[in-house]
């Protein structure tokens, strides 16, 4: 096991997992001396009937003060401020965030304002600006998933000033993360596939990039094993409760892994495709993941090789010679994308060219690739990538990922 020269690891979130995990929320809040929560969520979650499930599970034990469901798909400072006002008006003492990344970030932002009794969130941006614990926050992820229920980061956009504020602090971590199979039972297949591959990309990048450490590795391996066991199953059979629980656990474990070890070029590129073209994050991750591993293989191929065991199982691992394992992992991920493409009726894109929006139009036009490469240069994940990338490198990877052709490893400039 690689012991890095220096590392830090922390996950202070209590994980509560099960088919009936929601029912344990009242006692969790009571232990934190709270009982009048504000629920923060979005209209999609409401529409899926998930809020009703949560309310039924907890209303006998807590006094739900208000349900705020106007969180937009992208975190927005105005909403954070208005919901903080609502929190105060209704005399709340805690927060329950039910949803995906944007809901989690919004709830974390609200928590800063109401706990510090501040009017200007900007004051707390950056690292370590918070000095003491915030109000109790329970996170209930509804995808499997972003892992943001266990990260100490929140990103809030100020659309008026065109600023993206990042907040980094251990105090942002939720007090508890509820991993309950009911929350993802109704996820449609395409979203199941995309969010599942998102979780996989977190675990794989955490394991193969520069900030890896023994604990994040252990979490990542468990996540990869669970995803390989369950993702296809639950995409084909959405009602598979055990499979859903496995995926939800995997997403949280992957979140813990990357929350501590960061991610690399797959996220640099994926964030950029997302921000320039609006393609959902999970879809970007699925397409780019094999390319990230290919690009870095001369630096971390030996680590990629190890992933063959949790991904493909003991028989395949034992039967594959050591020097072929990394390539086999990359092929395995491509095959996963292929299988998910087939079972979602083509909605899970295997490469950018075939990623279509609801209107049937191409979501990532080839002409936009230069702009995406430019944007990727400004993404902080690049620090943690084992190999350097400049504009030309990014463009090369994007072109390959657009066509769906493997990278030509001869073209990679090795450091």
């Amino acid at each position: 096991m690689d012991m890095p020269g220096y590392y830090e690891f922390c996950c202070r979130v209590k994980i509560i997992s099960g088919h009936d995990a929601l029912e344990r929320i009242p006692e969790t809040l009571a232990q934190l001396y709270a009982g009048r929560p504000m629920i923060v969520t979005d209209k999609g979650v409401v529409g899926a009937g998930l809020i009703d499930i949560v309310v039924n599970a907890i209303s006998s034990g807590v006094n739900i003060a208000v349900i705020a469901d106007d969180v937009p798909p992208d975190s927005d400072l105005r909403i954070v401020n208005s919901l903080a006002r609502l929190y105060r008006e209704k005399g709340c003492d805690s927060l329950i965030a039910i949803g995906g990344g944007s809901v989690m970030d919004t709830a974390k932002g609200i928590n800063i304002i109401v706990s510090e009794k501040a009017d200007d969130l900007m004051r707390f941006s950056g690292a370590n600006a918070l000095k003491r614990p915030l109000r109790p926050l329970i996170a209930i992820p509804t995808t499997a998933g972003t892992g943001s229920e266990v990260t100490l980061v929140a990103v809030i956009k100020d659309h008026e000033k065109h600023l993206k504020m990042a907040f980094v602090s251990n105090f942002l971590l939720p007090d508890a993360s509820i991993v309950d199979s009911r929350m993802t039972l109704t996820l449609p297949p395409a979203i199941t596939a995309a969010t599942g591959m998102d979780a996989l990309s977190h675990a794989v990048e955490a394991y193969t990039c520069l900030a890896k450490n023994p604990l994040s590795d252990a979490h990542a391996l468990a996540a990869i094993r669970l995803i390989s066991d369950n993702l296809l199953k639950v995409t084909v059979n959405p009602g598979d409760k055990k499979g859903r629980l496995g995926m939800a656990s995997a997403a949280t474990l992957a979140g813990i892994a990357f929350g501590n070890s960061m991610v690399g070029m797959v996220h640099s590129l994926g964030h950029s495709v997302g921000s320039v073209c609006g393609l959902p994050h999970g879809a970007c991750m699925a397409i780019l993941l094999p390319y990230g591993l290919e690009y870095n293989v001369h630096k971390n191929g030996h680590l990629t090789a190890e992933l063959l065991l949790p991904m493909a199982g003991a028989l395949v691992y034992a039967a594959t010679p050591k020097e072929e394992r990394a390539a086999k992992v990359i092929a395995f991920i491509r095959r996963m994308n292929q299988e998910l493409y087939e079972v979602t009726g083509g909605r899970h894109a295997r490469f950018f060219k075939e990623a279509l929006g609801r209107d049937g139009k191409e979501m990532v036009p080839k002409e936009k690739l230069p702009q995406i490469a430019e944007t990727a240069l400004r993404d902080g994940s690049i620090f943690y990538n084992p190999e350097d990338l400049d504009y030309d490198d990014f463009l090369m990877v994007l072109n390959a990922a657009w066509e769906g052709k493997p990278l030509d490893t001869c073209l990679i400039r090795k450091g």
Partner: protein, 390 residues
């Protein structure tokens, strides 16, 4: 047909300890104190810390930080509440706002109990003895372990002056693992500490409380111990090995805090007390026998143990129904290697403890009374096998 990963349909996991480990880890403490909103730490250490130079290392780490550090290096073996009173007065009178425990064992236990006092008042301590009787978070606590620590110091447990305390609020905010603090110890001490940690990690990984989150800490711990312990016992100058072991101990303590103690732990604890042996050593010597017994009773998770014990290649190339047996064999081999590395000291110590049949009975009864998962007959079989070295 690949084996699906086990996960329980219901589990909980909590570990509030941050771990900082590696080169110049101590120098990060001032930054971490600031993150905990603390400015004036009180460092407490054992009586020998001054002589061994550990205090100087800690103080050196604070240079250029602008932070003044209080130092109390008089924690004796078997400290008592009078000491707590003395430390409480210092903490309160001089306005400290954080505790740094320099060392493991008694020092760490003292720090945890002191933290109860300074977060309220000394009279609170008595009411907190027992399971989960602390109601609120305590003040910042940083623990800098030495190699002799079993990981217990990171756990939710503390034993002080005849009383036991258990609460996750006792767990330190931060564990700082720095090579300079993991000074070489003698072979038996290192072996005992690592075997305690290994037992805790293995029993967490294979017991009824198994879940993916506990597994992550246990897995990392087991792997690191397997890779390094025999070598460190043989060559205490192996700095990288010592650092890895110290990490493994801390991780085992975190895993241990999330499961009920297992049979090897309980039996080892009792034997250690009765026969005046290091409990960790006893736990380790019993571990393969306990697992053998559990395997015969259908111990489902032992085959998975081969993964951290043997590594990926060993696991993959061993047939599924043979993995449990192989894992146990690896443990027997490990004990042999460790003893060989210690020049036979470990095995001698164990064999020299002449334990009569009547004592075995007493041990089994005590362990079962304390909640061991095997029954008395099962414990007796384990103990006899261990005594005979089977």
């Amino acid at each position: 047909m690949r084996l699906q990963m086990y996960f329980p349909e219901r589990y909980e996991f909590f570990c509030p300890v941050k771990i900082n480990s590696g080169n110049r880890a101590l120098e990060q403490i001032p930054f971490e104190l600031d993150a905990l909103n603390a400015r004036k730490p009180l460092a407490i250490a054992g009586k020998d810390a001054g002589e061994t130079g550990l205090i100087d290392v800690i103080l050196g780490a604070f240079r250029d930080s602008g932070i003044a550090v209080g130092v109390f290096d008089g924690v004796p073996v078997a400290p008592d509440l009078k000491l707590i009173r003395e430390l409480f007065n210092i903490y309160r009178d001089r306005g400290y706002d954080a505790i740094i425990a320099v060392g493991s064992g008694d020092v760490a236990d003292t720090a945890k109990v002191l933290n109860i006092a300074v977060s309220g008042k000394p009279e609170d301590i008595e009411g907190c003895a027992g399971e989960d009787l602390i109601r609120n978070p305590l003040k910042p606590l940083i623990i800098v372990p030495t190699l002799s620590g079993t990981g217990y110091e990171m756990s939710r447990y503390a034993s002080f002056d005849g009383r036991d305390y258990a609460s996750h609020f006792l767990m330190p905010n931060l564990a700082v693992i720095d090579l300079r603090m993991t000074v070489p110890e003698d072979a038996v001490t290192t072996a005992a500490a690592s075997l305690a940690a290994l037992t805790h990690a293995v029993e967490a990984y294979t017991g009824s409380g198994k879940n993916p989150a506990v597994d992550a800490y246990a897995y990392a711990s087991i792997q690191l111990i397997m890779e390094h312990v025999a070598h460190v016992i043989g060559d205490q100058h192996d700095g990288g090995g010592r650092l890895s072991l110290a990490n493994a101990h801390a991780m085992a303590g975190c895993a241990f805090s999330n499961v009920a103690p297992g049979t090897a732990h309980k039996l080892g604890q009792v034997i250690g007390d009765l026969c005046h042996l290091p409990p960790g050593l006893c736990m380790g010597m019993l571990l393969p026998h306990v697992l053998k017994r559990e395997m015969s009773e259908g111990g489902y998770h032992i085959s998975d143990l081969l993964l951290p014990l043997g590594g990926f290649d060993a696991y993959a190339s061993t047939a599924a129904d043979l993995r449990a047996r192989k894992a146990i064999d690896i443990l027997y081999d490990l004990l042999r290697d460790m003893s060989a590395a210690s020049g036979g000291a470990i095995f001698h110590l164990w064999k020299d403890a002449q334990v009569s049949e009547a004592t075995l009975q007493k041990i089994a009864q005590k362990a079962v009374g304390a909640g061991a998962s095997s029954d008395i007959e099962g414990c007796m079989k384990i103990l006899r096998d261990a005594r005979e070295g089977r």
